[in-house]
Symmetry: C2
Subunit: 197 residues, 2 copies
């Protein structure tokens, strides 16, 4: 099988997606996007070691991050800005890889591509874009995650992750904004161990 | 993990779905729906042996099949009738099982539940409904199927399968209709062997 490059934040969804694709015979390489604002990719590096797949950091132009923050400040809420940053990321990495994947879940709202956008991406870029969790609901994923991983759950302001939100918060702060005005408090989770199976 | 009951036609999609769920730790039982018109479940029984999971036939009321044929004759095309029969099937089996699954693919049109219908099914019936192939596109699935299975591909009129279409065709014939007037010729496939991996 091909190699699959999985967008990886250190969270349970991208971790479980990697395991599903590895089980299917793909060679996995985890990739974490970083815009040079924070060294937040370190957390994903640590989780990558725990789940046992090679990992690399891809540095993208910070203009993408800045523009996503512009969108968030304009809107007063984060969904369109996060959607923008994810679509830009998929577009860019599709130039370099044949098979890409991410941890988008069935019940997620953003970031999530519509079916038409997925097909457009695959055709324009001649890429295979896989979202292994798209057919799994909330309750099923909770069971699977509990089966596979030890999880650390904290408020999003406290937990150090390697997702888009972490650097978006940093840019908001650097512009004198309070991230809590844009991201309501929510529980974030990170994989901190593999359960024995 | 729980037991997962996978709707199984003997085709590549339901076979691959079973493998994904088995890899994730589910105990798999394959179930084939039959309406008592044809013994078409035999083909799924044979494929079940090949892929190595237990299999059972669930007999549903032939009124469901007859009504789906009414819809198809009214419409002049099969999609709404097939959608009806699949939704009825999911509703009925959800009363008996906690985790159900089928081989619906990302790029399928019917049968396919909308996101709202999936959530309604799960809540009404307290069931987990998993569609493991929902995040996989056409090209990716072709690669995976080639990797796992030996496939027999034939025109739909010739290939003996255990899907809804097989019994729908039989009812159409019994009502003096030509199935080809409703189902355009298309290639069907059935799993006839596992590749060594």
């Amino acid at each position: 099988m091909n190699k699959a490059y999985v967008l990886f934040s250190g969270g349970k969804d991208s971790s479980l997606s990697s395991i599903i694709l590895s089980n299917l015979g793909y060679d996995i390489e985890l990739i974490t996007i970083n815009f040079g604002v924070l060294d937040s990719y370190i957390h994903a590096q640590n989780t990558a070691k725990i789940i046992g797949y090679p990992h690399k950091v891809i540095r993208l132009d910070s203009e993408i991050l800045e523009k996503s923050v512009d969108i968030i400040l304009d809107d007063g809420f984060p969904s369109n800005g996060i959607q923008y940053i994810h679509k830009e990321t998929l577009n860019i990495i599709s130039d370099d890889f044949e098979v890409i994947a991410d941890g988008t879940r069935r019940d997620d709202r953003v970031p999530k591509l519509s079916h038409a956008e997925v097909q457009s991406l695959e055709m324009r870029k001649n890429v295979q874009y896989i979202t292994p969790l798209m057919g799994f609901g909330h309750k099923t994923l909770r069971n699977l995650v509990n089966n596979y991983f030890e999880i650390s759950e904290k408020e999003s302001e406290e937990l150090l992750k390697s997702d888009y939100e972490t650097e978006i918060r940093a840019v908001l702060r650097s512009r004198g904004e309070n991230p809590l005005d844009y991201f309501p408090k929510h529980i974030q989770s990170r994989v901190v161990g593999l359960k024995k199976r």
